[in-house]
Symmetry: C2
């Protein structure tokens, strides 16, 4: 995976780069939008691309269970299946096996569990996960890892790190798609020594890029940033670094300053469905009664369809009436907000002005 | 309401016409798509217009309760509120008061009921309904009527017809919007003598157009067609005739042949949400397992976004995963199917070939 660093921020460890994939070049820092089931909640691929989203993530666990990866492979791969022409990353499903599936039984070989859809028994191994991701034809794949809950006892996390290292080796050995890059994943909970061991051993195995997993799973933000800061020195500077499941714009900005290049999070989609919007003035809850007759745009400084065409009053009406066009417009807005935020952050890194960049986390009026 | 008849079918009572409204000319026969809450399930106004839908119907009852018609009036009317530039019809809410509201009490003055949203007490009168519709600024309004259930005892229906006639007079007297046309509504259940009395008296009151209400509420299709056939001779030929709540393409075709010009129905929207699609080959249930790996378009002869861009396999996947983009695409397809069906029917009337027009009601393979 060719990765070129274009600029370093003079006041932090942030960098701006370019990541080359089989479906185009990603400008980093980059946000990966969640397209879990090979679709982004109510939006067309054209709308998502138009919003400035460079790459989406599909989920290996979900697509493996339904509709099945063979079906997608037969259809010509997930790009063709969902008609998204830009890069796609697939998650290995590790996180989902540990967060969604029922009756989990972890062995060295893999994880036996019951499908959260129909309770059918399944067995996932690193080999099966990588094979599935190869078949999906995504541009980037992730190793199959164990994602431990927060908090977890240190002894459990220590063993889990060793298991994930074994699974990382097997994932790499099973990987067999020259058009796809495989990310290693560093685990270790909130224990710096375990994180460092995980990072060093994962680097020894050797991957074109490295992710930090098991973060943003309930630990305090300061813990998360402390762990990232402690771990990154063990990862090669010239390779892309990806923190999984992060986060709000403020979280991403903090992580960028520590040297993170790649982010993914379900937050813009999920918050939109819950009526919570990221705006240039802070967070806006559309159901609030004070927007009832508000004929202003959601965010006057946003150029998305929701903000340029509709009023807060109409968006609130759609929201209150549980109309799907409401969730669609709000999801589009949040994604556009994220895309613009990443573009501005990159520009600021290139211009050396990232230290002056600020995210309003308060309530928008 | 200027209404010009361009052509009569030589083999039936069908006619092709043009209906002039403040927001453009409708080519009849015309299908009114349901935009109950001032939005069409998941679709943008641009997409609905692009699908060939000429006019949408908003619901007076729903918008009166939420977000309130004053709010919409202040926002510049419902066209501006929802950004739909073509004609809009508003239903009076009669049907909803009788089908959705709780604890109904009907008096000569109006209907006391509890809101289905929050149980709050409400009182709807013909005057309040017309005032609400005036305030919405729709192009066509409907009188406030009593819609009786099927089956109902003849004595009840007889009294109800008289009540609706009184309410029709009061609706007309209350109407005060020169840019809006008020339709009269003929009631009378499935009793031909009551239908004729209702029609004759409604015509005496005098409206620019006449609707048949209280049909498609559970009665057998033959009953419905018999009632329409018996009633239409009592309505002036030179005025548009609208049958409310009808129906499938086959139903609409049968009604057209009896002389109906205007239709509205929630069926294309509702069936799409239930995975039931109208296609040129019949009805297709997308969840059917035989479409699992089917890479053909939903309907090879349709030019909508769902049919030109996606496979049955992908649409089925979205459906099974309950992804909103699925319902969006399927709704768009059904609306496009209806729009094309109406265009073809009109063309057939103009060309004198309507008798050869056929609708496949079977199962699509």
């Amino acid at each position: 995976m060719r990765f070129e660093i274009d600029a370093h921020d003079p006041h932090s460890l942030a960098r701006a780069g370019r990541l080359y994939t089989a479906h185009g070049v990603l400008k980093t820092p980059v946000f990966i939008a969640s397209a879990t089931h090979a679709t982004i909640k109510g939006l067309s691929p054209e709308e998502v691309a138009h919003a400035g989203i460079q790459i989406v993530a599909v989920n290996g666990y979900h697509l493996w269970l339904r509709p099945g990866v063979e079906l997608i492979a037969k259809a010509g791969g997930v790009h063709k299946f969902m008609r998204w022409k830009r890069p796609i990353l697939s998650d290995s499903g590790g996180f989902q096996v540990f967060s969604l599936a029922q009756s989990r039984e972890i062995t060295r070989k893999g994880v036996r569990f019951k499908s959260h859809i129909d309770g059918s028994p399944r067995f996932m191994t690193p080999e099966a996960s990588i094979e599935a991701q190869n078949a999906l034809g995504t541009d980037s794949a992730m190793i199959f890892d164990e994602c431990v809950a927060y908090p977890s006892a240190k002894e459990y996390v220590r063993e889990s790190v060793e298991l994930t290292l074994q699974w990382a080796r097997r994932s790499k050995a099973a990987h067999n798609n020259p058009h796809q890059h495989l990310f290693g994943i560093v685990q270790g909970g909130t224990f710096e020594d375990l994180r460092l061991r995980s990072a060093e051993e994962t680097v020894k195995i050797g991957f074109p890029g490295y992710a930090l997993g098991g973060l943003s799973v309930g630990e305090p933000r300061e813990e998360m940033l402390r762990v990232i800061q402690a771990t990154l020195p063990a990862l090669p500077e010239e390779r892309p670094r990806y923190v999984m499941g992060v986060g709000t714009p403020a979280d991403m900005l903090a992580c960028m300053r520590l040297g993170i290049d790649v982010f993914d999070c379900v937050l813009p989609n999920k918050n939109a469905r819950h009526g919570s919007l990221f705006t240039s003035q802070g967070v806006l809850k559309i159901k609030n009664a004070r927007f009832r007759e508000d004929e202003r745009p959601l965010d006057p400084s946003c150029d998305c369809e929701a903000c340029t065409k509709y009023t807060r009053a109409y968006l609130r009406h759609l929201w209150m009436a549980e109309e799907p066009f409401g969730a669609r417009l709000l999801t589009l807005h949040n994604l556009r907000h994220y895309a613009v935020f990443m573009e501005r952050a990159r520009e600021a890194i290139v211009n050396g002005t990232l230290s002056r960049m600020h995210v309003s986390e308060g309530r928008a009026d």
